[in-house]
Amino acid sequence: MQQNSFDSFLQSIGLGTLSLHGYGPLILEGTLTTLKLAGFALIVAVILGLLGASAKLSRLAPLRFIAQSYTTLIRGVPDLVLMLLIFYSLQNWLGALTDYMGWDYIDIDPMAAGIATLGFIYGAYFTETFRGAILAVPRGQGEAALAYGLSRWQTFTLITFPQMMRFALPGIGNNWQVLLKATALVSIIGLADLVRASQEAGKGTFKLFYFLIVAGVIYLLITAVTNAILGALERRYHVGVREAKR
């Protein structure tokens, strides 16, 4: 309904060619799916990244080895291959399991699978980002906190993490952009994201080129908005840092 009034508004100001031909709601839904997928995958990836970074900096050799193989393997194999591998294999194994146990067939929800897979893949990239950032915080900060009697958890949340974020944010911004663009791949495993929605709208109206461009503009808008948010965060975590004038 709302979309139709938007279309007639465009027509009334002489921009009828920009109308979405009633496919506005579909495109909007696809955009929301993309955002939801990217947002949740980001959360999973950040958690995995923090775990991976602490494992890489751990004193225990097995933990370091696991984290090292995780980042090497994931970053050496294309995301799309990993996505197909994880998605279809999980589906097969779950099918075999349900057969074996005599349960009903369980279909994996593509959204959950997409979030898990993307989170797992980008966790490896975040591991490297956070590892670098943790190393950039002067060692004395953590030692001083421990000397003041803070627990290890308090040291991390109150001392290391806030200082680490300043070094991690540029890397987080880059990873986020790559992650956002990688969500386009999930339309290949059958999720109705922004790319899929624009393809459907394009096929329905015989204006495929136009709707694909619309999708591209929406991706650019999302990036612009998140860049602004990241800029604000960077200023926040920069508070109290003195810089020499050049």
Binding site: L73, G76, V77, P78, D79, L80, V81, L82, L84, L85, Y88, S89, N92, Q177, K181, A182, T183, A184, L185, S187, I188, V195, Q199, G202, F206, K207, L208, F209, L212, I213, A215, G216, Y219, L220, T223
Partner: protein, 236 residues
Amino acid sequence: MIELLQQYWKPLLWTDGYHITGLAMTLWLLVASVVIGFLVSVPLSVARVSERRWLRWPIGFYTYVFRGTPLYLQLLICYTGIYSLGFVRDQPLLGSFFRDGLNCTILAFALNTCAYTTEIFAGAIRNTPHGEVEAAKAYGLDGWRLYVHVILPSALRRSLPFYSNEVIMMLHSTTLAFTATVPDLLKIARDANTATFLTFQAFGLAALMYLAVSFILIGLFRLAERRWLAFLGPTH
């Protein structure tokens, strides 16, 4: 697993008997797009750092758009989007170009990697130590000679570490080619999966092959860095 290998080792590596497929196709996609991207990005990066706005801004816009949208979308636009336009289909030359999946794939990949490479090179040109430029000017070099003999050799060397990342990313991006019916490594793995239902083995094998190629590329770039970047390293 053995059956899968027996049946598919040949298409996975280079041919299904009719076309170039599998690894050979993946490498061809990579080489073609990276070479085209490199050749175009060198002049573009020089223009990107130009003092003239009308030269700098359009290229900035191009890299912004191509780095800000998914490659999959760009490939869709090249392969299905452009061909859906009436005037392209009616024009014989354009029509036959855009009907072919391989052409569209290489075009989309080259445009994409060119955008990233342009920014990498432009960044390196901007960071050229001012002493190098001043020394070159003192020796009487200016205009294109300054670029060809001093700035570009220096900037291209310093971009090697970032450029190697871009090439690896591009190798990973070639997996999208199957969506435009190009029989690359992943397409063969998918075919093997559909025919044998050995999902984990088929995709796992492809993953290992991509991993091996990534490692070889990383090794080659390490050699290249040792050859051309040794002067920047710490003195051991």
